[in-house]
Subunit: 217 residues, 2 copies
Amino acid sequence: MSSLLPPCPEPEEKIGEPQQLIQLGAAGDEPCLRADAARNRARLLDAAARLIAEHGAAGVTMEAVAAAANVGKGTVFRRFGDRTGLLMALLDHAEQKMQAAFLGGPPPLGPGAPPVERLRAFGIALLRRLAGELDLQLAAEAAADRRYAVPARRVQHSHVVLLLRQTLPHADHELLAHTLMGYLNPVLVHHLTRQCGVPMARLENGWNDLVDRITAA
Amino acid sequence: MSSLLPPCPEPEEKIGEPQQLIQLGAAGDEPCLRADAARNRARLLDAAARLIAEHGAAGVTMEAVAAAANVGKGTVFRRFGDRTGLLMALLDHAEQKMQAAFLGGPPPLGPGAPPVERLRAFGIALLRRLAGELDLQLAAEAAADRRYAVPARRVQHSHVVLLLRQTLPHADHELLAHTLMGYLNPVLVHHLTRQCGVPMARLENGWNDLVDRITAA
DNA sequence: AACTTAAGCGGACCTAGGTCCGGATCGTAA
DNA sequence: TTACGATCCGGACCTAGGTCCGCTTAAGTT
């Protein structure tokens, strides 16, 4: 069975942010904003971060962000598309740093280590990052029908597919990657850690165990 | 490592529907509605089903359902709590039928077959059911912070934990069950089948393969 | 420097989910 | 049958995300 999915017909038109360091084939044309637009964008991100730090991601409205940034509401939506877009933009820094780490950084996360070890390191790194961003990650969840089209997620998914392919020659890497990524779902992590009191250490052990089971010959 | 999670502090107060055949320990006290309330409930479910069949789940507003049922908007929310509650009520029949099948029906779904076979049958059955309900399942997705508290999901999860426990004596059944359930996530199924064109047969093979890997000694 | 135009701005406006509370109704007890 | 209280009804109302469109302005062009 092949592991190549017809690569998911590109979601028609990307609204809002260009946003990703690695576009995996998609055009990486940063539109280069007009001076005033760039200024307002920065103001908005700053205002959003401040408000969220103060009231929590769930307690901040788009109108409040606009007001705090001294900007019209329409400007927020023009720049970021929708609420999810704004929140994902706030997560973008950490995302790009992590992408750089697992695409080109030092082992065991980056190239150089055996694929299974990279897989382990990837999950642990993502779990730890998620744990520190849970509020935002939860609030930034995309609508159900776009969730798997979020660029950051696609990059992570592709990375896992790659590592699996180097480990298991004959398997449905796409589906196995979805399974692995499912374990790293922010909503699940939130549920387990915050609502069930599961300690992070157990989640991390769970990940390593899962990788072992899935990559066992 | 124990597989017993502190069973997730019951979400404070259950709004709306009592809804589940098996409450897994929670009180199963059907409140027995007043005559007019029961009549309106039936009208609402009927109207909702009709409208959704005609316009798709995403194209139906709560107000439209209320109007089609000749009932006030407040009545809808009183009875079902919120939009998600109404949609989940529409899915309840199928859910109860399936619960009955895997809790007490004939093998391989019900008791009698070896646990691994029951696990396989469970996933296949759920996948097929989801495939026929994708619109509704997608629209009925609960808010992120309640998603794992939905009664139907908890019952399914517990069932998987049970089967895993009978198969793997020493494993973190809770976490493995979450992984398996993640594969059966309606949003993922929608993404793969509708957006990527993956045929159901491949998803089913993927499930069996996943069960094998996870339950391998 | 004057002109042009694509990009951006802002806030009025729309929609749809969710809340509230005064009044109507059901079920029961006397 | 009547009286009464708990339950329910309905639609006005609130909120917050998202859209629209006439006006403004940055940034090239001659």
